[in-house]
Symmetry: C2
Subunit: 330 residues, 2 copies
């Protein structure tokens, strides 16, 4: 079992006890995104080899996305791949990173540049672990829940509008239902395109809001905004652009932006970030194909599509609108 | 394209020319098994990132098994996996390592301990590249050819008995036929068990001769015996043991040992290696399950089976016989 020092303090002993394991079966890493490195993956590999774990061993990731991604990657390359299990302890990892098989570590040149697709044999999400989650991280996880609803489940969207306050108050029933529906939707999409090998294929729909969000994360050097916060803003911007293109009804775009805001997520870019900043950072996105920016946008509430075929003037209007909001907020 | 300095001297420019590429598309590593390290894989990863190779890039391995395994592993983990092509330039890699998707690097604790299954999109084997192969390496490659025939293709075995001298003389027609039949057999077996996930499953048959061979390689610290030479001896020992168990006719066991010898491969262990050395080194083999040594043995010429159900006294007799041969030879 691999975990980090923060998660270990809360949950390591109970989980080890439940599995009849002891502390010698656990490797505890420091916490934080900056720990998602090859050097730490190598430490875990060395530990597994030192413990003489064979190819029928099972590696368990206990923690958030950093632990899940790193541990999954180690499982992918240890003796050409061993089984692994995810026990995600953040809302973000419960609804997003633990399902789909994306594993990897960061590189000086960028995030997740070294990795593999390696599916967990099981994912156990216990909503009780969210009781220790800081409020900002809870909201960040809700961004991915809202994303799922916006891109593929209008029924879930309506439930979220009803339940958002219960979710923020950690109501176990509301959480379990939202997590389950997100995982079902994600698994359905991933099954269509497991290795994201189709350019603009089904799996890219999961990037709704992410191109705007990555621009914000890069602009803020991944230091001040949580990933989910950037995605929350990105969802609001994607809804706004979809509305300007005439694809999404104005009232539905408004519902999306309002739900993001009610989840206590930002709906304005960082102070000082300009439309030009967005344009130049978005141009670097890996979804740029043949020089044209491809975006995931909404055709309707609960229906997303990936396209490079949109009016750039509408994008400019969205950027002007949101950056104006930012200036007013500053 | 990734290659090593020895292969580059012979073949890099013609291959680059044929593909309309230039030297800036090639990364040249030092040559040798000791180069199959994470450090070199990381160098290639850094180079790919520096060249801004995207997920639709194709990595080409030009060289023997070390280059193929390392390059395939880099392709497996670069941005969660990109396409790769094998251009194997040794007989061993043409008939064995280039087909089947096993990739990886060595670790201080053992060979191939870090790696992945990642199939090449194509394998191009040019028999002309064997003209520059040292004779010992040609024989080492023939060991895997003989292995294929012994475990799954009695017709190929008869052809090898007829063609062995032509193969040693680098007859292009004989080589092409032997390589093609080995690759077909291996692909058929790998397709049944792509990730070697079935304990004692079809893919383990490809380890005929390897448990004995690994003991020799470990005993000689991977310094003096080529892998194929150790496999050659292992094939002779596996045939002998299969005969002692009453599974293989004495005349067929004799034909196997004779063919190994005619391929200029050793049929005696290193001087000084005792039956006890074999037993203790074989006990460490990864094919040991639940404390019982599992071996790939022959039910008949062209038919192998993996089993832990054999009389240990027969194994002792084989070890005594071959180690006696070694003492006489010393």
């Amino acid at each position: 079992m691999v975990t980090d020092v923060n998660v270990a303090a809360c949950y390591l002993d109970p989980v080890l006890d439940a599995l009849n394991l002891t502390r010698e079966h656990a490797y505890v890493l420091p916490a934080g995104e900056q720990q998602k490195t090859w050097a730490n993956a190598e430490e875990v590999l060395d530990w597994l080899l030192g413990q003489r774990i064979a190819r029928d061993g099972i590696l368990i990731a206990l923690g958030g996305g950093v632990i899940g991604d790193l541990t999954g990657f180690v499982a992918a390359i240890y003796q050409r791949g061993i089984a692994f299990v995810q026990i995600p302890t953040t809302l973000l990892s419960q609804v997003d990173s633990s399902v789909g098989g994306k594993t990897g570590v960061n590189h000086a040149r960028g995030k997740n540049l070294i990795g593999a697709f390696h599916q967990p044999i099981a994912v156990f999400a216990d909503t009780d672990t969210l009781n220790s989650l800081p409020p900002r991280e809870l909201s960040a996880g809700l961004a991915e829940v809202i994303k799922c609803a916006m891109l593929g489940d209008a029924g879930l969207f309506a439930r979220l509008e009803r339940d958002i306050d219960a979710l923020l108050a950690l109501d176990a029933g509301a959480l379990a239902e939202a997590i389950e529906r997100c995982c079902q939707l994600k698994a359905r999409i991933v099954a269509l395109d497991e290795r994201e090998s189709l350019a603009g294929g089904p799996r890219t729909l999961l990037n709704l809001g992410h191109t705007f969000g990555h621009a914000v994360e890069t602009y803020t050097k991944y230091e001040t905004w949580l990933h989910g916060e950037a995605v929350g803003l990105g969802l609001a911007m994607a809804a706004d652009l979809s509305m300007r293109l005439g694809w999404l009804k104005a009232e539905d775009a408004e519902r999306c932006i309002r739900l993001v805001e009610r989840a206590r997520l930002p709906i304005a870019p960082p102070a000082g970030m300009t439309p030009d900043d967005f344009r130049s950072l978005m141009a670097r996105d890996k979804k740029v194909a043949a020089g044209r920016l491809r975006l995931v946008l909404m055709r309707a509430l609960g229906e997303a599509a990936t396209t490079a075929d949109f009016d750039p003037a509408a994008l400019d209007a969205t950027l002007d609108h949101f950056c104006g909001v930012a200036i007013r907020a500053a």
